[in-house]
Symmetry: C2
Subunit: 300 residues, 2 copies
Amino acid sequence: MATNISTKLLYAFVALKETRHFTRAAERCHTSQPAFSAMIRKLEEAAGTRLFERDTRNVTLTPEGKLFSEVARSLIADTEAAFDDMADYVARRRGRVSIAALPSLAARALPAIIAEYRRLYPGVAVSLHDALSDQCLALLRQRKADLVLTAPGANFNEFDSRVLGSDPFYLVCRRDHPLAKKRRIRPGDLAGHEIVHLAKSSSVRQYADILLRDVAAVHSGFEVEHLATVAGLVEQGLGVSLVPQLTLFQFRLLDLAAIPLASQEQTRPILVVTRKDETLSIAAQGMLELIEKHVKPVEE
Amino acid sequence: MATNISTKLLYAFVALKETRHFTRAAERCHTSQPAFSAMIRKLEEAAGTRLFERDTRNVTLTPEGKLFSEVARSLIADTEAAFDDMADYVARRRGRVSIAALPSLAARALPAIIAEYRRLYPGVAVSLHDALSDQCLALLRQRKADLVLTAPGANFNEFDSRVLGSDPFYLVCRRDHPLAKKRRIRPGDLAGHEIVHLAKSSSVRQYADILLRDVAAVHSGFEVEHLATVAGLVEQGLGVSLVPQLTLFQFRLLDLAAIPLASQEQTRPILVVTRKDETLSIAAQGMLELIEKHVKPVEE
DNA sequence: GTCAATTACGTTCTCCGTAAGGATG
DNA sequence: CATCCTTACGGAGAACGTAATTGAC
């Protein structure tokens, strides 16, 4: 029933239709003339009727050949379009990639990566969501994001995740603060100091809380949403804060001191999270490679 | 460049997409599982990328596979539609055939043939033009007719023509006319009788003129367009006429006498005329076969 | 007699099926 | 350890190219 038709036969048909000459059509198809005859014969068998009327002198389309002629053109065009499209996606001349990332990553690390990506693959549409971890994962679940950059949290079993790098914590304080003179900070050093906190929903806060678990720090009473606000409060001497390296740009703007924590274990891992058992699109793979290229050197 | 893609590969793709299982998809394609794997591999090579992500447990579409999936469906559908259409034309479930014929043929012989054709092939659109010979040939030239039934005339070299049968001439007259008692008429018998003529543009007239070339017949002064008018005039005793057998029905309606001419050579050949070096459509071939089946027995 | 499509025929190559291999849960 | 996709391999059939044949002008 389902006769097997190959594009080769369609190309042969079009070549013969246009040349009206077996020998020349065979040349155009890079094949010998008898082989070409066989292809036409095979196509005619599939069609169930002669498509060309021919003798040794003339080759003309039959009425059925004329009917087939119109459709053959569009079959070829559609097939070529399909594979050309596919080649565009493979070459990242077309496509789409959507990233969701923590605000700290979205603001600082990602823009340069995205800029390079767009330079390499201008045809691919890139979208970026900056959101807190839970919302990033929700976007991933809803397929509104392909890649998520975040720090570890609860319920990551649902996804695939890989460590991209780790983001060490720093103490930030005024340059005239007593702790500003230290080269390294241990959590215990913070005992008795007022701490400006981010909201509990932020991943930075969750890691900071772990760091401060056994420390008698004084809560400043400030618990704000944005790092820029933390920076403003710290600059006014209203407290110090613990933030990851990737957010330091916010504090450097105000000429605050940033001192690394002594313990290297006290870092916030940065993960790339994807949906489980699903392949990244080629566009997204390219983005991931670029992210790894940029982030890895920062870590080591 | 032009990669050769066969429908077989597209069917394999769809089968695997729907079953998500190589072994079952292979069964659906009536092939062994390794052969099926090879087909998928070949399609992926043509696409330039993996279309399925698979391990021993799961088979899922890649993002590129999803893209291809949509287009594969329509490629298959278009190809099937093309060949199904062709099968319809071959089986004369669809198509078109246009006949142009002399009025005498169109009125009497053809309706029954066309009726049978429509019964056999109800899907084929049949059109019929009744016109004089020159106009029939003009329709053929303009491709508004596929088949012409007419009598020989000038400039038939432009076309292909075949004799279908021959239409012997009859004398028609009132039953009380002196000639009505004869069993056979020779042209000479008409000497002195008034003749009712068709217009000179008709093929009947042209053959009648040849028959009367050497006869001192009296022109009645009537030269009319339609056979029905000839019949009316003859019925009123205003003359006799010479007409081919196929037109006699017009005269029998009025209970007139019709006597065959003695000389069998004095017949009007009936030709089927087609365009030179062009194939008849399958629909038209069927019509021609039916015409030959009906006309041949009349002749012999 | 020449040009061109078809047929004949031997070779090559692709495709297929069986059987073994390997990965995964 | 059972499932199932892949690789290996040998054989069958298709496709191809060269050469001979047929046919039309």
